[in-house]
């Protein structure tokens, strides 16, 4: 499934539309230094950490989008950076686990092959 379809299905708030790209899994982490080394390529990254470096880490790891959980607030600098790097940033009101589960369930529903991603 691609990012635009994902947020349409889940009704997330779009903070920066960015690139419509493949989402093949979910990754959760709030420490940027951990996400930087352990993040999964093409995953939707669920986090409450919202600052310019979140966008930088997403780009570096090549994750497909940032999903801010718990209605995390964002600043202008982060959105500017997201525009610059064409990164999709969306926001969910639910906590991290519920948000990740909802994305996971949606990906499954549309027959995305998560087991390949999990290997």
């Amino acid at each position: 499934m691609k990012t635009y379809k994902l947020f349409e299905n889940l009704g997330y708030e779009i903070l920066n539309k960015g690139e419509d790209r493949l989402v093949s899994g979910v990754y959760c982490c709030d420490l940027l230094s951990v996400a930087m080394s352990k993040g999964k390529e093409n995953a939707a990254w669920v986090t409450v950490m919202s600052n310019v470096n979140t966008v930088a880490v997403c780009t570096l790891v090549d994750m497909s989008c940032i999903v801010l959980a718990d209605g995390s607030s964002v600043d202008e600098a982060m959105l500017e950076k997201a525009k610059e790097h064409n990164v999709c940033v969306m926001r969910s009101k639910l906590p991290v686990f519920e948000t990740a589960k909802e994305i996971f369930d949606t990906l499954n529903l549309f027959g995305d092959r998560l087991e390949e991603y999990c290997d």
Binding site: L31, L32, S33, M36, S37, M49, N53, A56, L60, S73
Partner: protein, 241 residues
């Protein structure tokens, strides 16, 4: 006692997010123009631009305190100030060994330039400096004590990478006596929520990533003399209120 105007948190072009115009020589020159007595060059997790800053400062007669802004394992920023260049470079070596090793991509994070005292690029740091070091917030204070320096929780009122945003509380066994606050007007409110802070000295620095953001001489501290050792001593003393 001397009253010294200070700005003890300035990033150079070594920090990936620091402007490339912010060379150690330019920082010292700007501090001189502004009339500051003492500044600190504090890049993310590295002191490699301190040698050039110290050299440049000789010409201008201002004091450069060598240091860095350490990113702890919890991604809390802690301002580390050292009594000498040698100690700062020792700390640099200690921290490099404990930093998560990921290559910097200058296109995403920015360049990490090392400059010499002639204001020329003499090298660059390959691994990304804004990463977390495997040093916990609590152990940082004792670590700096061992180096004869001081650790100061940085911009505790900021919503990213601060003691209050990342840990959310002040560890009960804390012993620090000085904190850095970005917006001083918020400090009374912070003291209401975190009683420990009432006993702390507050300093305010620019955290400048651009030359123009370096503070005017509007903040003062009192020290026995204008030297790195005396400034650190002054910040270590219990706060008299």
């Amino acid at each position: 006692m001397l009253s010294l105007s200070y700005d003890l948190h300035i990033h150079s072009c070594l920090s990936p997010c620091g402007d490339n115009e912010s060379t150690p020589c330019n920082i010292v020159g700007m501090a001189y123009v502004k009339g500051l007595d003492v500044i600190a060059v504090t890049d993310h997790n590295s002191a490699k631009n301190c040698p050039a800053a110290v050299e440049a400062a000789k010409e201008f007669g201002i004091t450069v305190v060598c240091g860095m802004e350490l990113t702890t394992a919890e991604e809390v920023h802690v301002l580390c100030l050292l009594p000498s260049l040698e100690k700062a470079l020792e700390l640099d070596e200690y921290v490099q060994k404990r930093l998560i090793k990921i290559k910097n991509d200058p296109k995403i994070f920015g360049e990490q330039l090392i400059m010499n005292s002639a204001d020329e690029v003499s090298g660059s740091v390959e691994n990304l400096l804004i990463n977390a070091a495997d040093i916990s917030f609590c152990e940082t204070f004792e670590l700096l004590e061992g180096f004869g320096g001081i650790a100061i929780p940085a911009h505790i009122d900021k919503s990213a990478n601060s003691l209050l945003s990342n840990l959310g509380f002040i560890p009960p066994d804390s012993s620090f006596k000085t904190v850095e606050v970005h917006r001083r007007s918020l400090f009374p409110d912070l003291c209401q929520t975190h009683g420990y802070l009432s006993s702390c000295r507050v300093i305010s620095n620019s955290d400048a990533h651009y030359l123009g953001d370096i503070n005017e001489p509007e903040n003062f501290l009192h020290a026995e003399e204008n030297s790195a050792e005396a400034v650190i001593e002054a910040l270590k003393k219990p706060c008299e209120k």
